[in-house]
């Protein structure tokens, strides 16, 4: 479960006040709102990248409000995917596992499984430079889910993709969710995308959240 309880976040002159969201365990929450409404700021607050001035963030029942990002067990895919330019695709998939000191053989098994799941086996030795938008998204997704996170946060992951690739990614996301039940909060301003993927919907407007019926 992702549960935000009356949280306030400040970023310069911009602020979000008394934000409350609850995405049930295993559900796919979609957060919509106009550009500049604070969606990314909210995701960063859940990740621990932005300080929460008031309220609490609970993930799977655990209060993580004051925890560092590393301790929250979150898979985060930012809008620009932010791949590591000097690492290969294989190293991206292994990154969180190396940090967690998994054994070499366990990492190998997990990377192979992810590569197969995401259909990027042929890209494993390539670096991000030259990957297509869809390939980069798959790598970013693989990097985020490698360590079996409690929750996944997606920040407009398909905004730079063409229609065909976007539909491929919808299918991929759905198939991953079937194999790996995880609670998701997905930020987008695309209604079609929201309706295809989401279970519960939230609208961020004028610094306030309201839940939108399906």
């Amino acid at each position: 479960m992702i549960s935000l309880s009356e949280i306030s976040v400040h970023q310069g002159t911009f602020s979000l006040q008394d934000i409350a969201i609850e995405v049930p365990t295993g559900a796919y929450g979609v957060l919509m709102g106009k550009t500049g409404s604070g969606k990314t700021t909210l995701l960063e607050a859940i990740c621990g990248l932005r300080r929460v001035a008031a309220g609490s963030v609970r993930l799977m029942g655990r209060d993580v409000t004051r925890l560092k990002p590393a301790a929250r067990n979150i898979g985060y895919v930012p809008q620009d995917v932010a791949l590591f330019s000097t690492l290969t695709v294989r190293e991206h998939l292994a990154f969180a596992l190396v940090v967690r000191r998994w054994s070499r053989s366990a990492i190998q098994v997990r990377v192979d499984a992810l590569a197969q799941l995401l259909g990027i086996g042929q890209l494993l030795d390539r670096r991000p430079r030259g990957l297509s938008g869809g390939e980069a998204q798959r790598v970013a997704l693989g990097r985020a889910i490698a360590m079996h996170p409690d929750v996944l946060l997606f920040d407009e992951p398909f905004s730079a993709l063409d229609d065909d690739t976007r539909h491929e990614m919808y299918d991929l996301f759905r198939s991953i969710r079937k194999q790996m039940p995880v609670t998701v909060l997905h930020v987008t301003h695309n209604r079609d995308e929201a309706s295809r993927l989401g279970d519960c919907f939230f609208q961020l407007r004028d610094g306030r959240i309201r839940e939108v019926p399906r």
Binding site: E44, C47, A82, F84, A96, V99, R127, R129
Partner: protein, 294 residues
């Protein structure tokens, strides 16, 4: 819209350069080919004249010096010592500069703290200070109680360490500037993702930020080395110009000039040009190898 037409027409007729024959909008667009060409030609001429100046300098040095002059210079024990000391001191000051500049540039780029602007301004001081003033300041610093205490353990003034310190003081400022710009140009987003993947700040720095800054590190090292190699003013004041003791290649040029031996001065200068070019090319080749950029 109809009301605007007469005004548009009168505006067009008032511009004599517009051909009146064709009535479509494309004809009204000014023909920019000739002015664009002139503009680019002007820019190229300015750049070209600077390139001519640099090549002219190298040619003048090269034609003034004969191969026998260079051989004679290399055979001199003093010049060989100066070359050795130059290479060692420059490498040491470059390593020291990077040791300070990489974390320094990172902190200035990523961290907001009170007095950051002041720190930023202080780093510019070695860049803007006249070289002789820098040397004098170093000399006076080592006459203070603190400086004397250091001298008790490591003799600095008028000894080889003073050369490294004089080079480092100036070169490090350039290296910090370069590293700060490098980290400014790298989005912090990748490091933030690394934090969510389980990294501590230090791990995100070593595993993500520093590898991404590799080209900047190379540029900073190149700049620091080149700056150290050509450093003269602070060295003259702080280290002196004692042969076989504190003589680096710029000192050799100065000493040869001071006794009127222009041929030897030019030969040493050409040696400096060639050495600097070889080192910089090697740094580029080895630094970029494996990065996918070479």
């Amino acid at each position: 819209m109809k009301g605007e037409e007469p005004r548009q027409a009168s505006a067009m007729t008032s511009i004599p350069a517009v051909p009146a024959a064709s009535g479509d909008g494309a004809a009204a667009a000014p023909s920019g080919r000739s002015t664009d060409g002139l503009f680019l030609f002007g820019l190229s001429t300015l750049l070209g004249s600077y390139i001519v100046l640099i090549v002219g300098l190298l040619c003048a040095l090269g034609t003034f010096t004969t191969f026998s002059h260079i051989l004679a210079a290399i055979k001199t024990e003093e010049i060989r010592f100066a070359l050795r000391l130059s290479l060692i001191s420059c490498t040491m000051s470059t390593l020291l500069s990077l040791w300070v500049a990489i974390p320094g540039g990172y902190v200035l780029s990523r961290c907001k703290f009170p007095g950051r602007s002041l720190v930023d301004a202080v780093i510019d001081i070695p860049i803007i200070l006249p070289p002789l003033v820098m040397g004098l300041a170093l000399l006076i610093l080592f006459q203070t109680p603190l400086g004397r205490a250091v001298e008790r353990f490591v003799p600095v003034t008028f000894a080889a360490p003073s050369i490294v310190l004089a080079q480092f003081t100036v070169a490090c400022a350039f290296a910090v500037r370069t590293m700060r710009v490098t980290f400014d140009q790298i989005s912090p987003r990748a490091e933030q993702v690394a934090l969510t993947l389980g990294c501590r700040r230090s791990q995100a720095f070593w595993m993500v930020a520093l590898p991404e800054a590799r080209r900047g590190v190379l540029t900073a090292a190149t700049l620091a080395w080149a700056r150290s190699f050509g450093e003269f003013g602070p060295i003259l004041v702080f280290a002196g110009a004692t042969r076989m003791r504190t003589e680096v290649l710029p000192t050799s040029v100065f000493l040869e000039l001071s006794i009127g031996n222009i041929e030897a001065a030019a030969a040493v200068s050409l040696m400096m040009v060639v050495t600097a070019m070889v080192v910089l090319i090697l740094a580029r080749v080895f630094g970029l190898r494996g990065s996918g950029l070479l």
